[in-house]
Amino acid sequence: MSADAIPQSRAIPDRVRRDRAIDVGGLILSAITIVFALAAFFPIYWAVITSFKSESEVIASGLSLWPKRLNIEAYQHIWNNTRIGYWYINSLVTSALITAIVIVSSAGCAYALSQLDFPGRRVIYVLILACFMVPMQALIVNHFVLMAQFKLLNTWPGIILPQLIVPVVIIVYKQFFDSVPKEYREAAQMDSAGPFKILFRIYLPMNWGITSALAIITFIGAWNAFLWPFLAATGEATMTVPVGITQVKDAYGIVYARLMASAVMAGLPVAVVYLLFQRRVTQAIMLSAGVKG
């Protein structure tokens, strides 16, 4: 080190020195976060490795964190001996239809509540807010009786209809539409656009981010829905994936590898959707929690 270098090092401001020092608080927080992340991830990891083990290895004593031999027998069995193909189709069709209908109807409803002036607007919004407070479970008997009377049990419409009530999507859309300057609507009105055109050509495209975020969480919610599809679909041909995998357990007793394989297969599409649209999903969760994204 040259003699000139000494005063230079002394001249380093305190702030820079603090930045270079070890951030103990940050380290502790990071460590805690990592521990919680591992704890959350471990069951998924355990399900995946169990699904690749042979049944004898699964029930063997001792902790085995990695299969001795990668075994896809459980997956083959599920694929060949259950109606998982149907369940996938049922889940895909019902979830996609629920998503599409919820998004379109909620956007329309929210636009009307936010932008149009009609008698009873406030009362309707209060009713929607009230619906938000009532959990699905509280209405499930009514839904079941209604669907039975309509003879819609064990049909796609029977699975779909009660799941179309998603007030949070209306509330989030309304908040967004409220925040859009009214001049955009008025400019479109001057441009001879009607309410539907204003909604679908101006308001929704102005922020596809919100629509895509809401669509993703609606899709994930519909895919993961268990209670209502479990009641509405009693025949194997109309079951969705989460309901269908209960049949794996019932038909074969407790065969852990197969059970885990079916769970992995059920969760895989949602995991893929989440990984592809991670940022949007986070945004949607924050929006629906009332926090601006």
Partner: protein
């Protein structure tokens, strides 16, 4: 192009009245400016013509058609908003085409009109950009372009210059005047800026407190304000007002005593009310003169280059603003004598009604 006629138009929100029995006739091709302070109802009136606000009473006609019950898109008018309201997800071309698509205009015709308007406004190079990629001035042009392509009977402009910086505002003002000369279409322009009103308008509609105070050419509004409000609102610096303490008559003209001075006006004394009066004179009609009617001391000098404004404390304690030449040699604290030009004098009665020099 068509005349726009408003007859006894009123508007209220519940019990709150915002416009009361407003009537006016806007001639085809006129540049009309609605001028007034915030909350006077000028924007509401414009929005009622546009169809964005319901008319509670009265009627609006554009040409032969009664339009006050028609939706905005069917009135044949186009509007430029204060914040432009360009659709952010559409390109400039799409923004300009949207209105024409909605009324089923042929694709080739849309292209022709958009290209022609873009050429006229010199925004051809911007047609494929989105609003976020444009400057404030460019957005302004696009907003005007969006209105032009519809070939409307009238343009409605709601404070379109207020979001621009000072120099761009002046430039755009000139361009707007040139555009009006070229298009010869009726334009209704809302502003609270009197310079915009004076420079752009064929006629100014001065509004205050839910009513029209005066409709006239810029010079009429400036020289012969219909009321004390108009006299105070139009003109910068504002007109000087002084209470009249005595009123006499000389050769049929009113002679008033005010500010401790006697002033012979050119206002006919016949017809003046007997009650309380206020004398008014604009700073440009109150000049430095050796033996003027008013005497006082200069408190403040504002040098504007081409003219000098003198804030003078009169002997009776009232403060007036007078004008002197740009190269005025006067200094703060100096005594000064002022003379009012008889032709530039005004009197206002207790109700604010104005009486002018002939």
């Amino acid at each position: 192009m068509a005349d726009i006629v408003l007859s006894e138009v009123s508007k209220s929100y519940g019990a709150v009245s915002v416009l009361e029995r407003v009537s006016m006739h806007i001639k085809s091709g006129e540049f009309i400016v609605f001028l007034g302070p915030s909350g006077c109802g000028k924007s509401t009136l414009l929005r009622m013509i546009a169809g964005l606000e319901e008319v509670n009473d009265g009627e609006i006609r554009i040409g032969e058609r009664r339009v006050d019950q028609l939706p905005p898109g069917q009135r044949g008018v186009a509007m430029v908003f204060q914040n432009y309201a360009l659709y952010p997800h559409m390109t400039v071309r799409e923004n300009m085409s949207f209105g024409l698509q909605n009324v089923g205009t042929d694709k080739a015709e849309i292209g022709r009109r958009v290209d022609e308007a873009a050429r006229m406004l010199e925004i051809t190079a911007l047609l494929e950009r989105r609003p976020a990629q444009l400057s404030g001035g460019q957005r302004q042009r696009v907003a005007i372009g969006r209105a032009i392509v519809r070939e409307p009977a009238a343009f409605l402009l709601d404070e379109p210059l207020s979001n621009l910086d000072a120099s761009l505002r002046v430039r755009t003002r000139v361009e707007l005047a040139q555009l009006h000369q070229r298009l010869k279409t009726t334009m209704i322009f809302v502003t609270h800026d009197q310079i915009e009103a004076m420079t752009l308008a064929d006629r100014i509609v001065v509004m205050n407190n839910r009513k029209i105070e005066q409709i006239g050419t810029p010079m009429e509004v400036y020289s012969r304000p219909a009321s004390r409000f108009v006299a105070a609102f139009v003109g910068s610096p504002a007109m000087n007002f002084m209470p009249v303490t005595a009123l006499a008559e000389q050769n049929g003209r009113a002679v008033v005593t005010t500010g401790g001075s006697v002033i012979v006006t050119n206002i006919a004394s016949a017809g003046l009310p007997s009650g309380e009066l206020t004398f008014g004179v604009r700073p440009d009609a109150l000049r430095v003169a050796p033996n003027g009617s008013f005497s006082g001391t200069i408190e403040l000098i504002e040098r504007l280059g081409d003219r000098t404004l003198l804030h003078v404390r009169l002997l009776d304690g009232s403060l007036v603003v007078a004008e002197d030449v740009g190269k005025s040699q006067l200094q703060t604290g100096s005594p000064v004598s002022l003379a009012a030009d008889g032709d530039g004098t005004h009197l206002f009665d207790a109700a604010g009604v104005a009486y002018h020099a002939d």
